[in-house]
Symmetry: C3
Subunit: 516 residues, 3 copies
């Protein structure tokens, strides 16, 4: 056996980077998780807009974060610590293929912060304004927070405040750096764009607008939990560490603590939210259990390597327990229409869980650390509020933050994108179909209630109760109870009242409509 003439660092690199690549892919997979969580909580007529915003967060975000964002974080780290900075060095990663795995690992965290925001402003924000914000949060707002913390800036042990206090800010995987940043930015956006039409009654009372598919929201939640194992446990990026003596050390205990506390926090958050929603609403609510599971995860995300297992369980339970009350406060007191409750789930749970790390720390309580935690939460929140408000205001000035009332009623899918996501179930269908006119060629059954005119060429059956005019060329069955006029050119002898007496198997229409 040839004595192994290898550098232990190489072995460690091999193991560590297989781990880092796989967890980066898992964290990317949180993008469809967030898209489903949000799509499920909006009405069918706005699902396409949600999908568009979530794809844009990622597609545009990675380009911006590569060309600008990652460099800005390093510069801010240097600016807010004695270390100083060098612009060329800050952007050196762009030409260094050896740095590109680390860049991807950083990018998937940045994109997570960005995609949280869309959940708060859904169903009424202008798509162009949103794109401006998505580019800015990935190019500037989030990178500043990353600079202040993970890139050695102000709040880190080597930053001005960290050096002054003698302790660095603890937020292991981004409960505040990523989630609170996204949650607070979302709250600011929801406030500035205003509530959806009908969300609050005349006297300001909350009138919930249920999403079109709780199934999608819970599926999104469980996909997020799957990706979150990459988010939390993956941030323990060192599996094999090289020791001073030239050997290797397996970081099993650290990995184990992060994996366990993530699991217990998730479980406790979901169970706590089940209990609290039963208390609030009389019955355990699946959507609140899902939000509790997420809030439990957010609450422990900053704490996972730092706290005891029972501390993680308590923090998770706390996150899950406060998510519904925090949402109610957002809606009933602040009167802010945060559609997916992102402030409650990501903002409040992230802040509370990260501030309380010292209370449950494995190494015991430290008042200084508590001071730093509270200061860190405050500084990140303040920066995010100010920066988001400025960017939303600017985007609003250029494009207008909100779509028109008419478009909001019709749905952003048609208004912003000219599409219907579920043409056979609800609403208009297909880009060729202008508003009001609908050339259904899909053989699907139409239940029309919008007065639009149908041009049917696909044998699909129509139940018309809205006075719209049909042009039938396909022998499909028409049932008219609405006085609408039928124009049939499919060989049917059109009797009175829209009854096609020959080919099509039409029932009597009792609507007195004229048919040619």
């Amino acid at each position: 056996m040839i004595p192994l003439q290898v550098d232990p660092n190489v072995v460690a690199q091999g193991v560590n980077y297989v781990w880092i690549l796989v967890v980066s892919f898992l964290i990317f997979f949180m993008q469809p998780g967030f898209a489903l969580l949000e799509a499920g909580q909006v009405r069918a007529k706005n699902v396409g807009n949600v999908l568009m915003k979530n794809m844009t967060d990622w597609a545009l975000g990675v380009l911006v974060y590569f060309v600008v964002g990652a460099g800005v974080a390093t510069i801010v780290g240097g600016l807010t610590s004695p270390g100083g900075f060098d612009v060329a060095a800050a952007f050196s990663y762009i030409g260094d293929s050896g740095a590109w795995i680390d860049w991807l690992f950083g990018a998937v965290f940045a994109m997570t912060a960005a995609t949280i925001v869309s959940g708060a402003v859904a169903e009424r924000m202008d798509f162009r304004a949103y794109v401006v914000f998505a580019a800015t949060i990935t190019g500037f707002i989030y990178p500043v927070v990353q600079g202040l913390t993970w890139s050695g800036g102000l709040l880190s042990g080597s930053g001005y405040l960290g050096a002054a206090l003698g302790v660095g800010y603890l937020d292991f995987a981004g409960a505040t750096v990523v989630h609170m940043c996204g949650g607070v930015a979302g709250l600011v956006g929801a406030k500035m764009v205003g509530p959806r039409k009908g969300r609050f009654g005349a006297s300001g009372e909350s009138q919930p607008i249920p999403g079109h598919s709780m199934l999608l929201a819970v599926l999104g939640t469980l996909i997020l939990a799957f990706g979150w194992y990459g988010f939390n446990v993956g941030t323990q990026a060192t599996v094999l560490a090289t020791t001073e003596s030239g050997g290797l050390e397996f970081m099993g205990a650290a990995l184990g603590r992060v994996a366990l506390v993530t699991t217990l926090g998730m479980g406790a958050g979901a169970v706590a939210a089940m209990v609290v929603s039963t208390n609030y609403q009389g019955k355990p609510d699946p959507l609140w259990m899902a939000n509790g599971l997420l809030a439990g995860l957010v609450a422990v995300t900053g704490a996972v390597p730092h706290v005891t297992w029972w501390g993680g369980l308590v923090l998770g339970a706390l996150g899950g327990a406060i998510v519904l009350p925090a949402y109610r406060w957002t809606v009933d007191s602040l009167k802010i229409d945060d559609v997916c409750g992102v402030f409650a789930v990501h903002g409040v749970a992230g802040a509370v869980g990260t501030a309380l790390i010292p209370v449950f720390a494995v190494g015991g309580f430290s008042a200084t650390q508590l001071v730093m935690q509270v200061a860190g939460v405050g500084i990140i929140a303040l920066w995010t509020i100010v920066a988001s408000a400025v960017v939303f205001a600017a985007a609003g000035t250029v494009f207008g933050l909100r779509v028109s009332e008419e478009e909001e009623l019709e749905g952003l899918d048609i208004g912003e994108h000219g599409v219907s996501v579920y043409p056979e179930f609800i609403g208009e269908s297909g880009p060729d179909r202008g508003v009001g006119t609908r050339a259904a060629t899909d053989g699907g059954n139409d239940v029309r209630t919008d007065g639009g005119n149908d041009v049917r060429t696909d044998g699909g059956n129509d139940v018309r109760t809205d006075g719209g005019n049909d042009v039938r060329t396909d022998g499909g069955n028409d049932v008219r109870t609405d006085g609408g006029n039928d124009v049939r050119t499919d060989g049917d002898v059109v009797g009175d009242n829209g009854v096609a007496v020959t080919e099509g198997n039409d029932s009597a229409a009792v609507d007195g409509g004229e048919n040619q």
Copy 2:
């Protein structure tokens, strides 16, 4: 180059634990797989209840398995083998962060057994009774099975029976320890809770109640198959083994056999079920092909490292071929309404595949092994039947196993959780809406057929054909063909018969109803 002064164990730990962590995350991802598989096979009015039960299995299950379950398994292992046991040692993992990755790896298997059960008892079991069972199967019923087998107890080589026979029970990744345990417990629950209303005709003939989305069921199946690669191949947890001579050995052949037999078993199971369902129903059925794919996976899960590749192909095909006949036997002979066929997919395929391991063993046939396999299947099944019956009976006594007939008809989403999962497509919507009264504020189009009264404030269009009374304050369009009374307070001059002649674009209502 510094000669590597490292302990080969450390290198092996690094490689092996990256593998164990990633496969644990994959096995967790089977939770949404099971949730979709079940949600797709129930009616829309019960999907929220399915999601709630699946989230509870995991969230509550991990807490119970950490505090109780894992320790119980070790104790049972000691109790049923000459080894004896020590309670403190059995629960020592709780305080040992070095043991927490292994705990998570065990927990994801336990949670898989628990979540299978809900598929059998869907659409009529009381949620509180179910929660009791979920806690007990993760805290006691499954851990006993784990103790008897994987934790060195009765059936293992070191257990009383194993020592007596001179062979240990073979079930590599849990075809019976996990899947048959879940499938049998599900059958017991389905039997004790009774069939769904309308499932059997007056003369006991089967009247299938189709699920609301075969797409979700097949998507769940393919997510399960993705996680199953972690379930099976991950159970070959040692990638690099340390040899006696202090070197390392790559377990490529063992990993390769498990990966190949898993793939061929899956494929053969699906193809066999396609052929059998064509034979049974005249046409190849996608849902039975999906169930065959799962049954093929279950059938090889215990066998994967032990059998030849063609043996795995045969076992998989056998699993896929018997799943439909086993389901028909469950329904037509046992008259048990096992909604998702969990007994056929997980119970029967698991038992048959694991019992027949010796027939296809790489090392050749062993009668003693066959005796142990059959004994093992019998003991695990018997324990599961008795324990499940006792727990279901106890839960039934405290809470009643079954929801009321009225609630079953209305749907468990509203009855147990006060929600509707697809408000724009079917049924009630939102927690504020008591049964019968519906304050639709979502702008969605309502097709009301339940006589409930509508309070509309969101401009959504109503097609009322059920005599319910509308209170409209939003200019939305009403089409009344049912004599229902409209109360319009949105500036519309309410003409006779519910025609709002000004703002709202209402068509003539020909229903003679009174409108104020």
Copy 3:
């Protein structure tokens, strides 16, 4: 510390094969990605058929590829290169468990090519004909392409053409070997089976038939992107390479380049398609952004380790930009009804991205390489066209390529499989329900517009507007506006016009129908 007496190859094997196994699982997960992408783009009445074809691609495909396909590739490699071949050696993997992980790694690429085809021929191809093609592409058509390229054949550096030109064909992860092969085969199939009824108007103008769920299509896209990280980065299968000096080298730069170019290509493709679709249709279209994301990925899949990061960005953007124009050309000029645009996404983007590798090569431009790239694209496309045409023609001769017009109108779910995927939303339900007669026993709300007769025993509410006759035995509410006859045997006193005045809460039926 014992000096490590290990073979560096073993350490490298451990690390590399954990990586290869995990990425193989990720690539398998692209199967449900493709299934959702396709299911979302067809009508509800054909979703079951899409699911069936996608499950069959995988289940049958892995069996065929194990028994035949992988061996054929090796033989073709030997046949088209000076190396020659040996049949026994070509199929030696079948008995060698040490080769089975590599086999699985190859199989998941083969299955990807197969499943792309079904997206083009959806909604009208006979299922048996499709199964014949699925078996042939996995057993012969794709393996020949693999042989010509990755298995050392004609186009590789050691192949006849490669040796002649002095350069081997570059297609790192299969932009053309897998994707263009699938896309071209799909185009041939779509051409030979003919367009869907109603897809083109009388004068040949395009009449889009929108899919039933853009949400599923975008979810499928993002699942594909998740698996694609395994597809591209996983093809850099060596994480730790053993050096000549007996040491190990970490391939970080190679892995980093593939990971970065994959990410930038994906992002640029999506953003480019968003811009182009806005230009074409006036508004940014979510489905085209999703297709652009995929086309961006395809375009860089062959190029990822070979090109600069900005080259990857340009290739991705190019792929995303040409996908809509390529689709329009397919439809408007070629008049081919490629339902999911697989030729545009996988064929055109794959060809263009791979042909242009030399233009953006890290090592600089090479005219010879460009010649090889163009020749390779041409040879693969030509082989695929000829072979696919022959197989589709043969399958058509035996089974007929196309389902009947009546079946196409009714939907392939019922015609080919006897099922309805969304019974509560649209269409017939359950295998027991022959066409026209429907024994709804699911308590679901029926909106019947097809004149079929209902036998209701489950309390579900009916809105009948189609003259069909109801037999009610369950107290469910009936609303009749269609003159249909009600036969009520549930204790209701059936008044005139179908009004059950006692138990069932029926509204007045104004249809003059006779009720007993």
